[in-house]
Amino acid sequence: MVVLRDGMCPGLSEEMVVALRAADITTVEDLLSSDTEDLAQKCSVSYKALLAVRRVLLAQHTAFPVSGDDLYEDLMSSTAIVSTGNSSLDKLLDSGLYTGELTELAGGPGSGKTQVCFGVTVNISYQLKQSVIYIDSTGGLSASRLLQILQKICKLEEQMEALQRIQVYRVFDIFSLIDCLQSLQCTGLQRASAGGGSVKAVIVDSVSAVISPILGGKQNEGMSMMMQVAGVLKTIAKDFNVAVLVTNTVTRDCNGNLKAGLGQSWSHVPRTRIILQRFESPGSTCSSLRTATLAKSSRQPCLLKEEFDLQCWGRSEDQLYEVSGKRKLEKNSPY
């Protein structure tokens, strides 16, 4: 709803606003949906002036179509694929997190969602030398764990540089999450890139922690706020060309299969979804093994499955080469 005010566009005088209000036209939508000719007669304002106002308002408030050709050109020059730092996950994601998209990690407690977020954060800030915005809604962010991962792979001054590129916001309810996202949107992620390098990823761990308390019952404010969060995240991803990574819980459907939480409406929101699970094998004592299943993707066949080790982010490059036996790019893990 965009309320008509005088001075919001040239030609829209105070008298005109008052006249329109008398005819029950208070918003831009009202004005554009009604017949200009009838309206001019009813409010006794000049048809020409009204038509001019209508044109300006349309130009101000609409989104403009882009030719597919130009969009493709833009996309090819601006899209970056941000490696997660783990070759198995990269394989599922078709070589990494795509900027401009929303990717979701879903998994039960202890399935490694937060650890994967840490790994991705460290990889972007240290290996790719880019900034990350980390929005923590569970209090699960541990700076010492980030440092621990960094300590294993780099020297002291590099550790500090890498940590400076990680901007942390703590929010504990949906209102502060929306607030935080909207202020990031207004500043254009400017402030966050203080540590050098541009912001390449926004991580929200987790969306379900703030959204699930407001859902349920017969009220729809909760649903509305959930969709607002989704909307802001998607516009941030597209407008600033960053990769957005969110985490979510899982539930089981009627056949007992795992599916992402937060219900049907949210299920349409992420472009790519990975479900994380503990790797269950008899006799296995190693608890850092996880399986990742691709549950939604427009690039790869779904239900692809990969196993990976959560500890791979903490391995130094020497260890990496030792295990793999040959020199690989730093983004490749030993598997």
Partner: protein, 316 residues
């Protein structure tokens, strides 16, 4: 006073006049999409000018893939088996994946020419670009913006006779935000969608375009859930089944999530309804999808099943 009256007269007349292109676009310029995909639509009942096709399904049931299949068919040149018409894609979900569309296009263009050398690759790039030039994409983030953008597009549609198809993915994107924004009154909750529908109705009538729109299946169908066959015997179901063919069809074939929940103004426009669902996984690990098409012009439903390959939708 008389001068004012005269100027108003001239502007009114100017508004009533149209140029040749507009007249052409309005009268006979648009192509019919009747034979766009015989696998999906019933024989002879494909979408013609003025039709609205609703794509309804849960997440991951193949709606977007099918849309890409149809859009690529529209923008491909005639000598490659396409329709060579222009398409306006309104993306409200921010799900439009250009890279995916390009992959589909490349595959369809490369079906005949299979050379791997650089010349062929460069040529295919030029052809893909030529196809993409027939596509326009616009992103909308609120229902108000959608409404105003549709108003703005009205003139675009009038002046471009090659523009035959308007795709809205999805029309239900702002459902929850609008519902909560409208307060207690249902009329207010639905105001924006109602206005969009009224505007679309006018566009369909005056410009003779075809509209494809997706709706997310987010409402669980409690009445029919479980015992679909007994549900059709209840008076309520019998009453609705007499009203239209798809109600009848859905009361016997109901999936859990096929309840139409959007504003009546929108429901009234829809002439074809495609219900998507996810099938089982075959032995060679292919996910099957199925689409059931019901129209207001035919009786019963036309079912088709497909799987999604790298090159797009493949019908079985």
């Amino acid at each position: 006073m008389r001068v004012v009256f005269l100027t108003e007269m001239t502007t009114t007349i100017a508004k009533m006049m149209e140029n040749g292109a507009q007249l052409f676009a309005r009268l006979d310029g648009r192509r019919s999409l009747k034979d766009i995909e015989p696998h999906i639509f019933p024989d002879g009942a494909g979408p013609v000018q003025g039709d609205v096709v609703e794509f309804h399904g849960t997440e991951g049931s193949g709606k977007t893939e099918t849309l890409f299949h149809l859009v690529s068919h529209c923008i491909l040149p005639v000598d490659r088996g396409g329709l060579e018409v222009e398409v306006m894609f309104v993306d409200t979900d921010y799900h439009f994946d250009m890279l995916r569309l390009v992959t589909v296009l490349e595959r369809r263009l490369g079906e005949e020419a299979r050379e791997e050398d650089g010349v062929a690759a460069a040529e295919s790039e030029v052809q893909v670009r030529a196809c993409l030039a027939r596509l326009y994409v616009v992103h909308c983030s609120t229902s108000v913006q959608l409404l105003l953008t549709l108003h703005h597009l009205e003139s675009t549609f009038c002046s471009r006779p090659a523009l035959c198809l308007l795709v809205i993915d999805s029309i239900s994107a702002f459902y929850w935000v609008d519902r909560s924004g409208g307060g207690e009154s249902v009329a207010k909750q639905e105001a924006n969608l109602r206005r969009c529908s009224e505007l679309l109705e006018r566009l369909l009538r005056d410009c003779r375009i075809v509209v494809f729109a997706t709706t997310h299946a987010i409402m669980r169908n409690y009445r029919h859930s479980g015992q679909a066959s007994t549900a059709s015997l209840t008076p309520a179901a019998a009453e609705t089944s007499s009203s239209s063919s798809w109600r009848q069809w859905s009361s016997t074939h109901a999936s859990d999530f096929d309840r139409p929940y959007l504003s009546r103004a929108w429901q009234r426009l829809v002439t074809h309804r495609l219900l998507f669902s996810k099938g089982e996984v075959t032995q060679d690990k292919k996910q099957l999808f199925s689409a059931a098409c019901t129209t207001t012009r035919t009786v019963g439903a036309k079912c088709s099943s497909f799987c999604v390959m790298e090159g797009g939708v493949q019908f079985l």
